[in-house]
Symmetry: C2
Subunit: 901 residues, 2 copies
Amino acid sequence: MTATYVYPFSEGSKDQKDLLGGKGANLAEMTRLGLPVPPGFTITTDACRWYMSHGENPPELADQVAAALADVEERLGRRFGDPEDPLLVSVRSGAKVSMPGMMETVLNVGLNDETVQGLAARSGSERFAQDSYRRLLQMFGRTVEEIDGERFEEVMDRVKAQRGVASDVDLTAEDLAGVVAAFQQIILEETGEPFPQDPREQLRRSIRAVFDSWNAPRAVVYRNTERIRHDLGTAVNVCSMVFGNLDDRSATGVCFTRDPATGQLGVYGDFLVNAQGEDVVAGIRNTRSLPELEQVLPECYAQLTGIMDTLEAHYKDLCDIEFTIESGTLWMLQTRVGKRTAAAAFRIATTLVDEGVIDEEEALRRVDGGQLSRLMFPHFAEGSGAEPITTGLNASPGAAVGQVAFDSASVAARARDGIATILVRRETNPDDLAGMLAAAGVLTSRGGKTSHAAVVARGLGKTCVCGAETLEVDEKAREIRMGGEVIAREGDVISIDGTSGEVYLGEVPVEPSEVVQYLEGDLAPDDPAASDLVRSVHRLMGVADSLRTLEVRANADTAEDAARARRMGAQGIGLARTEHMFLGERRVLVENLILSADQEQRQEALDELAEVQRGDFVGLLEAMGSLPTTIRLLDPPLHEFLPDITELSVKVAKREAAGKKKSKRDVTLLGAVRRLHEQNPMLGLRGVRLGLTIPGLYGMQTRAILEAEAQVRRAGGDPHIEIMVPLVSSIRELWEITAEIRAVRDDVAAEQGMDLACRIGTMIELPRAALRADEIAEVAEFFSFGTNDLTQTTWGFSRDDVEAGFFFTYKDRGILLTSPFESLDQYGVGELVRIGAQRGRSTRPDLTLGVCGEHGGDPDSIHFFHHVGLDYVSCSPFRVPVARFEAGRAKLLEDSFELHH
Amino acid sequence: MTATYVYPFSEGSKDQKDLLGGKGANLAEMTRLGLPVPPGFTITTDACRWYMSHGENPPELADQVAAALADVEERLGRRFGDPEDPLLVSVRSGAKVSMPGMMETVLNVGLNDETVQGLAARSGSERFAQDSYRRLLQMFGRTVEEIDGERFEEVMDRVKAQRGVASDVDLTAEDLAGVVAAFQQIILEETGEPFPQDPREQLRRSIRAVFDSWNAPRAVVYRNTERIRHDLGTAVNVCSMVFGNLDDRSATGVCFTRDPATGQLGVYGDFLVNAQGEDVVAGIRNTRSLPELEQVLPECYAQLTGIMDTLEAHYKDLCDIEFTIESGTLWMLQTRVGKRTAAAAFRIATTLVDEGVIDEEEALRRVDGGQLSRLMFPHFAEGSGAEPITTGLNASPGAAVGQVAFDSASVAARARDGIATILVRRETNPDDLAGMLAAAGVLTSRGGKTSHAAVVARGLGKTCVCGAETLEVDEKAREIRMGGEVIAREGDVISIDGTSGEVYLGEVPVEPSEVVQYLEGDLAPDDPAASDLVRSVHRLMGVADSLRTLEVRANADTAEDAARARRMGAQGIGLARTEHMFLGERRVLVENLILSADQEQRQEALDELAEVQRGDFVGLLEAMGSLPTTIRLLDPPLHEFLPDITELSVKVAKREAAGKKKSKRDVTLLGAVRRLHEQNPMLGLRGVRLGLTIPGLYGMQTRAILEAEAQVRRAGGDPHIEIMVPLVSSIRELWEITAEIRAVRDDVAAEQGMDLACRIGTMIELPRAALRADEIAEVAEFFSFGTNDLTQTTWGFSRDDVEAGFFFTYKDRGILLTSPFESLDQYGVGELVRIGAQRGRSTRPDLTLGVCGEHGGDPDSIHFFHHVGLDYVSCSPFRVPVARFEAGRAKLLEDSFELHH
């Protein structure tokens, strides 16, 4: 059987985007609907993939293209290369996912020294024909022959100068014929061969150039930024040419079937008479509003609005459309479901529901948690009147205001005084990490969306504008200049908008997100002050909540966080870390435990620690009512509570070298720090290993938790506690520690005279735990997948060291499209989650399964967790609404779930 | 269907050790052979496991025991509890694996105040009957009622003192009747209840006590040391009593069917007339040599030698036997395949082949790589006349001589002067690790075989004697005393034998292993100077080599190591690390690379590094001839080649504090050290990540390797190089780096004008690489499982931090029976190896699969690697013979392979 690599527009449909690309699939759909699409055909992404892996076209391709072209000739009654009435075609890329401006187009393929005359005769315009030929040569030269575009521009500039005219349109047919000759000469010089006069050779090479453009550096970088897979390949659309610049009954334009901001039906768009599509986009001439077309070409206008209705009815969504009118005949060149802002997406979806066009489930399909999260960032107040001084790249969203600081030390100094800062650098490198962490936002003058600043800021959730190239950042002089003039010095206040990329001098007032006000319960959806957007979010959130089977809990360590999480809709706490209870002033308690010389001192230290924790637990349990509250026993290595070994060593050595008396506490501490120092603390004495090697530690925590439960219960509460053991890798660890926890539970229950029925479970955060989950589930009553640590061990890299280190290079080279810490690596780490879930349930069918890594709040990851059948996800309180939303969508979309990363 | 928990001796066989334990299975086998075994029955390990998990006996057990007992009564014509002629039974534990002295026995069950009179009447000896009753009370009190044995001893001592006699045997029947009364009183006082007069109650409680003894602390510790699984449980043997101390026609003894040292057939053993088994073992009375029995009881002697022949013919191996003669009737109480030393095992196996008793394959089954490796340690010369001053525990084998050093600093100081040391400590802790590493051997006065010293020394392969309790180690006075007298001071020379546990003052000459001399080719097996042992090893190694399908390569970094590995039989190099090429004086070259300020300096540094490496590679390739040589590109993080951050920070700070001028190089270096510092270097910038982020590094190494190949090839050599990329976790990493390596290969091939066809493959040492092996094998031509790193990431612990840290506690508590770094964790890490192998071969059926972690030299692990179908194992040159040997055994035993750890 021969593979089919070419589909005439009359054969495909909009559901074949994988094979035909977005553009090709929609051209086919419009053709199928009987709309006036210029005949043409699409070469499939399969053909591109074949080309990429073999370095040459599939052998069947040439014949299939020839046959498809013959079919176009037949339909139009024109022949490709006919000197009298030549068929011309455009050759355009069209990938599955839109990559605007990233790939290549060659127009007017089919023109040569002969056919240009035929085109002149048929169109009645020698100038038009020469201009078309010149455009072909220019695009072919640049795209196919990879000649520097400057060489062609120079010729145009020279000819215009010679002719004393300012604009291309003022050149005559004769001028343009000269340009054509000059362009042919450039191609000959640069390639050693003349421009191919054979139209089929032009077509062949143009197709190959489109294939090649898939792997052009800018396309690769774009895909890296947008997390698009590199192995998709592009389709190629070969379409017969129509001309909007043939005469005054010709025009070209773009339009939307609805208001792209609100979704209200209507006629929205722009057009130009006697112009080409690129003129509309380029903004050289002032476009006219679409309704005016009714006056200019009433029949075409009527036909177009009819087509808009057809497309709306068919796609049941906002469509955007490119059209061309050639001498009074309307042609549809492209349509697609229109892009929109996050807010518009919500508004449009609910508008369509209100109109009865789609149902609520379909509306939920059309928005996503990523859009919801974009609505949750604070933003600069509208109407502040502030004018941006420049616009850079919107690298990481949010709005940030602060004093300019040029390095980490300066950020830190201001941070100590409680002053917010914007770290401003030419570009950042790993040494700037501390500053990036402490600053309110980051601004750079160089680097794109995959620059170090952009990658790290997104990872940190920090507002960032990068590549604001008009700014000269002088780190030595500690000033920012623009056009040579100093606009800000260190300490001056600036404001940056990471959502738009805009940069302002001075302070622009920041407004909280209205959506967050609603989600936090501070703004009721039926409040007259609430916008359409809030009502739309409320409505679709309701749909998501009613659909979803995945519960959403929150990671919260304090009563305040817990309360916030409940307001955000959390159905429990999936992870309460206990380590924060040992930070700050309480560090000294941990030091006492570590430095305790005998059993008595140790017990004293443990008792003090138990005392402070009990209070914390009471607060947490009170905040959570009767919702499940999962408390994790101490996880980090103890030396994290002690001073840094290098800093303390230097401190002691300096005093010694300077002949000063050493502090006895420092010397004792240094001994402990040295004893506890580990080469790889991530892989060291932490988690359950602490519980098993430090007598009484986990018992003390268990006691504090259960005494808190007793206290809350006595006051009328009804806590549901789940005690979670971290970092288990084998059944025997859990067996031993569970026995200890149960013994303490029995003791406390007896002392308190009440039943304390906490559940005992474990984190699954090491590959071995996932592989041995069947055994482990014999003891554990629940699992919580710790996908942060599981990612670190499965990949063998430490997040701390890696995110500021080689990740940058890896993303830049496209080795990683997205950080596996941001979105679950479904193929690797995900397989261990799947194995762990299956094996765990194989020995304990009613095992509760959750996830408490940061992936619990990531949309793609949530779909995966739904797919593998977890019971809940747990994420930071702020991500809870996104998780609820995506959990609903995951249920809705479960049949079409596919693994990806 | 009712479960069967009780097997009469007449029903089992020797192949049922899992169910009946070793002792029970062999009693059954002897019964089946028609040998005179006292009737009895075995309660299965199933019953014990049921008891352990339910806390009570299986419900069927009581009835089944009653029925089996009735059967014994029938066979013997005596009744249990019959006051006239009582049946007495012994109740003994018997696990699958022998645990000598670890578990419990109760003899003479069935005696009470009534039946003791019947026994006296039947035996004609009131004294014998009272002594038997006294023994029952004593054993029952200690074992079943857990009364301190001292209480019973005190009574015996008091009675002997009152009677003015020295020995138990001098007590009269009347004395013993008093003892019986006193013992009954003790039991009443300690338990609040009288000694049970009901024989069935005695039996029931004794059986339960044996079950309980399985989890007694000393049994748990023993199993931890010997790596025996804790969930096996023990069987219980209930056997009718026979008495070797009834009269002068009674006797008891032990014997071997062959000389246990050499395997020569003959009559070997000892006996005592009118005595009990424990008298033989206790050594209180001088035993007589077995042939003398012919004079004493000629009929029994003839019967016994006949039985020995029967057992030999049946077991086809050296058997050891316990027998008792009761009034001229011979009874067999136990037999088993006799324990033997490593050397004896080899000698016996070949002797049996020579005699035609077994074939060569069976001989290979009967020895193992562990025994072979014990024969490879150096040992103290025989006949040196040295007398040990004491004997401790043989914690880690080998012979070591050196100056006494009491702490790590002292070891280090002597090591700098090239002086060998023995680190002597009361006990060791993690702080002593540096000293243990640098010392020739370790001696402690406290701690057992699972003490820190023992565990760490075995891990390091360091000679160690621990728990030499007669020594007083005074670390402050820096001297060792014995009985208060100083026997050695710091700096004095001592010698320790880790194989026997013996400690000597002064230097004892150390002899290399004769087996190693043979294996290294320095001693031919047919050399008249070669011992039987060498010939035996040679013969069985030949069998192993002819059987095995697993190849054996070596891990070797230098030409010297490579040459040694080939002498030891390595069939290639499975891992040549390149990092050693950057150590020592060459560190400065790496520093230059790191500190290079521009492209030119960087290239200069790379060129220098290439130059020195090329020479190293030439040596390696020359040593390996045409055998495959797998070279791993640089793996460790670069900061490993720089000074330690804390040390350098302190150095710089001290100079500063003291007002001295700072070294410019130090300051620059400190900057680099800080920049490269990682929280978790194990999970940081290393392996392929270095290759992808440091431009030119892997290219430089590839160039050095291939230029070396060209040089060796030009000189007539035929190297087979495999370039190995470390720490790959995703296909794209390998894809990118393979492209770079191929490009360099093409360049060098063109420059050198020859074909350089190295293969390119990867380590599989991260969980993700194993899971994605199908993808990775699309690029990799071979896999080498790096089980060290794979263990670290699968378990989430770092070897460096862990082996001296919580491992000790983990082993002590039985959480880990063996270090997963010593022997592969077949259930966890092993599953990833299996997955990696299967998936790799699924996309590349001819993929070469090997392993180069240290597990490549571990017997159990080798069987696993054979089982999952690897092509080769690679291990240190010294382990190559063990690996060859076990690879042969793995093939032989493949049908009975079972996962374990």
